[in-house]
């Protein structure tokens, strides 16, 4: 086969949704293999490895994000039903959750406040532009919700999504070290903190480590998302 028909075939395949979808799943399988190989080490985060591999392939083949997303959107779409499904672990853990209503409410209030104020405060001190600041504010909230909040604050939704995913990866990767250093031995506390500070990616990490941690992460993720969607715009206007 000479180079030309091969190139034509590549151009054809790369432009179909099939390519973006296949690339995402193949790279995820590779990343998951690395994650298992390291004994699910937090620094071998599967989201991070997959994103890096996919970007490398897109860059080498000069493929645009729009072309890639035409296929990847089928994976992206499943975020909706996955969030709905978080009601299941929550229902399973409900008897325990009810007994801990006060610790849950208090750590939700403390965690949400610290996440918002510290992100905006540090960014402002180090001279971030107003658009970047408004996009940083909802970084602890899951990407689809962070985008909506950032838009209300005058930030860029796409940039907010990038910050949210970065935060999720950072939280999932660093969580173990921070929580071990603080001697947090309670799996429920570890999961709750990861779900709050690192939303869905922290919740995914929690489920991969411990079932109790996963359920409490899902709870924190959902409560924080609801609270942030309503209160972050108000709090941000008060801060800035």
């Amino acid at each position: 086969m000479t180079a030309e028909p091969f190139f034509a075939l590549w151009v054809y395949l790369a432009a179909t949704p099939l390519a973006g979808l296949t690339l995402t799943l193949v790279m995820y399988a590779l990343a998951w293999w690395c994650y298992e190989l390291t004994g699910r080490h937090p620094l071998a985060n599967p989201v991070l490895i997959t994103v890096v591999l996919v970007i490398m392939v897109l860059w080498l083949t000069r493929t645009s994000y729009q072309t890639y997303f035409a296929g990847a959107q089928f994976v992206h779409f499943l975020l909706g039903p996955a969030v709905v499904g978080l009601a299941v672990p929550l229902a399973r853990e409900w008897p325990h959750v009810r007994r801990l209503a006060w610790p849950i409410a208090a750590s939700l209030a403390v965690g949400s406040t610290v996440a918002l104020v510290s992100a905006v405060g540090i960014g402002w001190l180090l001279g971030a532009s107003p658009v970047t600041l408004a996009s940083l504010a909802p970084k602890s909230v899951t990407a689809p919700i962070a985008m909506g909040i950032a838009e209300k604050l005058g930030g860029l939704p796409a940039l907010a999504a990038v910050f949210a995913v970065s935060t999720g990866i950072l939280g999932a990767a660093l969580g173990k070290f921070v929580l071990d250093a603080l001697r947090i031995s309670d799996w429920r506390a570890r999961g709750f903190a990861l779900g709050l500070a690192a939303h869905g990616i922290g919740t995914a990490r929690s489920f991969q480590v411990n079932a109790d941690a996963g359920a409490f992460a899902g709870l924190a993720f959902a409560l924080h998302a609801m609270l942030a969607a309503i209160l972050f715009p108000l709090a941000y206007w008060a801060l800035v």
Binding site: G85, L86, A87, F163, T167
Partner: protein, 124 residues
């Protein structure tokens, strides 16, 4: 219908109900989060937990990581802004995430211990 397919169908039905409710009331919460609340209420009424819904929800939760990849790849669109402001961005993301993790976990563990100790003494 296979349990996985039936479960996924239920999740989509609840998501649609959530989206519809958000549209009708204009509340600032995303549709899937409302769908989650509706499913949670339904699961309180209908016990035990339907196996089909468990299969689909647990399957998606196990690989929640995968679902964030398409948005994460979007970082390639913002390389210029991130590169020009990388110091405040990196500092805010790292420090704030560590602080939020620490503050949340510490508050939770302390108050949960106290609540459980109080419950144990009142029972004895």
């Amino acid at each position: 219908m296979s349990p996985l397919l039936a479960g996924l169908t239920w999740l989509l039905v609840f998501q649609s109900a959530g989206e519809a409710l958000v549209r009708l009331t204009g509340m600032p919460v995303p549709g899937p989060v409302v769908g989650m609340m509706l499913l949670f209420v339904a699961l309180q009424v209908r016990k035990p937990l339907p196996a089909a819904i468990s299969v689909a929800a647990d399957g998606l939760a196990q690989h929640l990581s995968l679902l964030f990849v398409p948005v994460g790849v979007g970082v390639m669109l913002h390389v210029d802004r991130v590169a020009s402001e990388w110091v405040p961005i990196a500092a805010a993301l790292i420090v704030s995430t560590v602080l939020a993790l620490a503050a949340t976990a510490w508050t939770f563990q302390r108050l949960a211990r106290r609540a459980e100790a109080a419950a144990a003494t009142s029972r004895s």
